[in-house]
């Protein structure tokens, strides 16, 4: 038990780690592009939902201060820019809600789509329903639930989530308004 013992332990753990790393690297090389694509696909398809006429989306740097706004994309239709899609992350009942809001050039909501949320299933997740999201279409300005004096009908039993989504839409509208 001397240098040999040290060397052996070191070497073996090194070898195992190295082999594992190599394999991982390989798997990563295969999957990396797919993972990115899968993520992007999800966002893009969500963006398509909120702005169906758009044919492509272009990343558009957001320089505002609103922490809820994550990214802004310029939506391009057949005849050039037709509006913006804003990715916002308001906080709901169970954490951040990832959602995109389409805003037309006229500053009106064209659609709201939720990419992911960790709200309570059967309660907060009702925000995924069309009936709730469609309330926002065509709206502009500050959005709020009826309880808070706004026009949005909150989901029963999930006022917190409804508030969060409304806040997200408001932020998106403000962010776009600030652009022009």
């Amino acid at each position: 038990m001397g240098a040999k013992y040290f060397g052996k332990l070191t070497l073996i753990l090194f070898l195992i780690s190295a082999v594992v790393a190599a394999l991982l690297g390989a798997v990563n090389a295969i999957t990396e592009s797919r993972i990115i694509a899968a993520k992007r696909e999800k966002t893009v398809s969500a963006m398509k939902v909120v702005m169906p006429e758009a044919s492509s989306f272009e990343e558009f740097g957001y320089k505002g201060k609103d922490p809820l706004v994550a990214e802004i994309y310029l939506a391009k239709g057949s005849s050039g820019s037709i509006g913006y899609v804003v990715k916002v992350t308001p906080t709901g009942f169970g954490g951040a809600i990832d959602m995109v809001v389409g805003v037309s050039s006229a500053g009106k909501v064209t659609g709201v789509s939720i990419i992911s949320m960790s709200e309570t299933p059967g309660l907060g997740t009702n925000a995924l329903k069309d009936s709730f999201r469609e309330q926002f279409v065509g709206k502009s300005g500050t959005q709020a639930v009826t309880k808070d004096g706004g026009k949005i009908n909150a989901i029963t039993g999930a006022t917190v989530t409804s508030r969060a989504v409304s806040k997200g839409v408001t932020s998106a509208l403000e962010a776009v308004a600030a652009l022009s």
Binding site: K8, L9, I12, L13, I16, S17, V20, A21, L23, L24, V27, N28, I30, T31, R34, I35, A38, K39, K42, S116, T120, P121, G122, L123
Partner: protein, 216 residues
């Protein structure tokens, strides 16, 4: 080597969840839909089998002192591979299992089997052990999932079939007991399941005893 016994151990007498009480975290955290359960079960099955094989193969090479570290690296390697593959090919599953896929690394079942079985047995035996234990795990997971999803969300198989992957609705919306898909429900369901198992075990033991006494 006795394949029958190994399977019986994995499924019943040494069931990792119900008897050995291993891997509790994921068993309770993700068992809210059948989709999650099957996904988790299969992931664990694959990882368990692979790591069992590798560890059994290396069992003569790895010195005692770095045993745990070495096992852990091997296991973590497989976990990450599975994680990456799931992210790439079944992103929805990755989303709903979240941090619990990487946490398979510390799922006590895998390290437990590595230490208890793979490090002392041949490669084929280790492989079979991995499969048997993995299936035992998956079955229990699926049972818990079905109960919790049915009573908690009122659906069956959300994420697998049904309109928009919403599953088949069995209990009308607004009636299921929401809390069963929360942590509370996880503890309660598993507790009742194990109690049920102990009850059947007691009953069959009682029966056996009565029979033997009657025979006397």
């Amino acid at each position: 080597m006795n394949i029958g016994k190994q399977f019986k151990d994995g499924l019943v007498s040494q069931n990792p969840v119900l008897v050995q009480l291993l891997g509790m975290c994921s068993t309770m955290a993700i068992t809210t839909t059948l989709f999650n359960g099957i996904g988790m079960g299969i992931s664990v099955l694959v990882i368990l089998t692979c790591s069992n094989v590798v560890i059994a193969a290396l069992r003569k090479v790895i010195p005692q002192k770095i045993r745990i570290a070495a096992y852990v690296v091997v296991i973590a390697g497989f976990v990450t591979m599975v994680d990456l593959l799931i992210q790439a090919f079944v992103p929805e599953l990755s989303k709903s299992l979240g941090v619990f896929i990487p946490l398979i690394v510390v799922n006590c079942i895998i390290l437990g089997r590595a230490e208890a079985f793979a490090s002392k047995n041949t490669v084929p035996a280790a492989a079979i052990d991995g499969i048997a234990q993995g299936i035992g795990y998956t079955i229990v997971l699926v049972v818990i999932c079905i109960i919790r999803e049915l009573l908690g969300s009122g659906t069956f198989g959300a994420g697998i079939f049904g309109v928009n992957g919403g599953g088949i609705r069995i209990i009308a919306e607004g009636y299921p007991a929401l809390f069963l898909i929360l942590p509370f429900g996880g503890f309660l369901t598993l507790g009742c399941l194990i109690a049920f198992m102990q009850w059947t075990a007691n009953r069959s033991a009682d029966k056996a005893r009565k029979e033997s006494e009657a025979a006397k």
